[in-house]
Amino acid sequence: MFFKGHTLADGGAPLRSNELFRSLKALTKEPFLLLLIIGIFFLLFLFSLYPLIKVAMVSFERTDGTLGLDVYQQTLSNSYLRQGFYNSLLVASLTAIFGVAIGYLFAYTLNRADIPLKRFFRFVALMPVVFPPFIGAMSLIMLFGFNGMITAKIFGIRDFPVYGLWGLMMAQMICFFPVAFITLDGVISTISPTLEDAAFNLGASRWQAFRKVILPVSIPGIASTLLVLFIESLADFGNPLILAGSRFPVLSVQAYLEITGMYNLRTGAALAVWLLLPSILAFLAQKYWVSRKRYITLTGKPTTSVIKSVNRPVKWCLFSLCLLISLFILLIYATIIWGSFTQAWGMSNRFTLENFKYVFDVGWESIKDTLVIAFTSTPLSALLGMTIAFLIVRKRFPGKGAMDFLSLLSFAVPGTVIGIGYIFAFNTPPFLLTGTLAILVLNFVFRYIPVGIQSGIALLNQVDPAIEEAAFTLGANNRTVFSRVTLPLIIPAFFSALVFSFVRAMTAISAAIFLVSAKWNLMTVQILSQTDSGRLSEACAYSVILITIILFFMMLLKLLLRNKISLSNQNYGVR
């Protein structure tokens, strides 16, 4: 995910009072638009911001009802909790650095070296996107854990340090490296090869051309990706829950345990705030600073230069590295599939279908629930995302910058924090939602709108605004313009948002784990609890079913929309 600092034409600068009055007056002539803006602000406030405020409030409130910051002092003075903060930052930094390094390696190799198997590499790099985020951790335990297939069975090692810093980092890299690859692939593929031609022409060697041209030009993209991975890693919950344990505490798990395990709400809230701060800082840096410093090197003129960025030895060196990493990733996922067909992983590796039967017997309800929640939240999220994108790109109204910020905020907020916020915010009337379907759906809708907003904004920026203006001058109101003109034109963004939020909703864990109940449960939560109680084969079977469902619906959507997508792919009306 790449948060572009799109400039808000004149929403960026504060309006003078006279202008504020005038623009408000103009808004009153469009009551529907005004209502829509107020409505979206209300929803964003209630479901994105209010839970965070609630977390802070709980952390300030002493048992006697007075307010104070003492719980922060307590958490800081507790060495176990302080260690969690330190560990979280350490893992996040390392994951970001190594994840970006591998992402860059892949992106550079696939774009700049003439190697075989490019499609295979691309497939492997994008594959983890559709997997639940903690699959890596599960698989690592199955391969390198106490009963690990590689460590214990092959080498006879029983205490391989898979639990702790390195194991966690490895699991997170497998999970988040696609994010780095996607953004860096976007960066490197848009660097015109003629830039290198120019460098060679001026006498630079290949290494110099890379060092002095390609690398500096991709620095803003790298910086941005670093921050995004940092945020993702901080927010990660599933991997540390499985891998970190008490020996290597991290904030997200600590906060969860404080709240659900010890029912220590205030400490949990304070830990959530500690987790929130670095995430928000990284998000602000990404959105308002790094993303503004991008180079535009792709000009309108098509460049068909033969790629000659690397020589043969370097090419095969890059190829081998990519192959090694790809095989490792495949091994990770193959292990899950393998595991799902074994009787009891690590003990008895006999082939069986019992695990699937078990999942359908015990877990049928959670499969149903997961689908109901995903199918309810996904279209709402995509539609809301498109609407906000439309308002932000095309409309002028006071508070536009705030709406932009609020709607993207949920990306920066770790799921653990928002999950805690939801249970604090919605457990009393008038918003008594705990234990309901609604709280899960609302959480998913507002957590995954940034995806829709980003792709909506990107596509809208390419559609000539005059097309919508023409509709206005022909008498269409905002509603008509949006439904009859804008939406048909940005339908690809709508569907990509649909797919993405579907996958996210199916694989979500960090916030959801606080919100599930006996009545509404999720497959991911089931997988975690199976893993926790050592039933790895059953957990694998759950995962395989989950992934199959995701792939099935992605394929189905692709088939159903073939005509529609190809229509919009002609890209007429797109500048």
């Binding site: 960026g12 005038r22 002539k29 097309i467 001058t473 022909l474 008498g475 269409a476 109101n477």
Partner: protein, 360 residues
Amino acid sequence: MGLVLENITKIFRSDGSDMRAVDHIALEIPSGALVTLLGPSGCGKTTTLRMIAGFELPTEGSVRLEGEDITFLPPNQRNISMVFQSYALFPHLSVEENVAFGLKIKHISRDTVRKETREMIDLVGLRGLEKRRPDQLSGGQQQRVALARSLVMKPKVLLFDEPLSNLDAKLRESMRLEIRRIQQETAITSVYVTHDQVEAMSISDLIVIMEKGKIMQKGSPFEVYIRPENAFVADFIGKVNFIEGVADKQDPESGIVVSSSLKKSFNCRNALVEKGRPARIVVRPEAFSLSNARNEELNSIAGTVLSYSFLGSHLEYIVKLPDGSVINALEYNLSERQLPRVGEEKRLFFSKENAWTIPG
């Protein structure tokens, strides 16, 4: 009065700096007239048009249509249609659907929509192409769809935002005539933005020349060409030569300007510059004659030919005057005479009727 702009101003803000795009424009546009906003890019003409359309909210001032204040009305409630530079056709709709778009929104009976759509498609000459999509049309055809789509709404005002600038030169000329014909037939009040002065001259009832957000002059095409009020207008409309001097006599018919550098006084029409004030005589290239006739009524200057271009119908001279300034002159009616030589002495004549004076 059809459309009235009352001192409208638009200030764009970005990161602390203000850009005054339109600066207190006051303009009255008579019903049924075609008024052109003409000026270089960045002069505020498009911003003015967009304020009329309702896409921009004026920072100050108001827009009135037939007496009603429409400043704060959204675009869809103004009954003002616009033809865009990029045509802005709905790419997912056919020609017919594009034209019918606005009518359908008004919930008019289906038969009426079909009838009016067909009539309009006929008027702009697109019969037979109704089912096509915009990307299956040529640029000129797309612009006709855009025009039909706007006209079918019978708007109170029709706005044109550089509608012809994406067409090639030949098509531009015929579309220009077509737009003028249709506008006159329908008598819709129109505001037309362009940076092309030939386009503006050929279709307008009234030209408004803008620069840096201000109106430099408004008048008929004839007025702005023959009687520019300032150097910007004189220079922007057509080619021009300036002869610098000091006004010696202010008289609309027989004024006098004295040039000290050329050591000559010129007879001219001087309605604007008081005696003793710096003045510029505006002489168009075609107003010179290079004959050898001696006529007391004519002003004359001698110079040497720096260069010339033969353009078929005429010769274009660059002539250097004794004070170092340069004159651009045209010579028509070429017979089988020999072409001039570079460096040759030439005498340039112009009548006082063709010598308009502006402040220097």
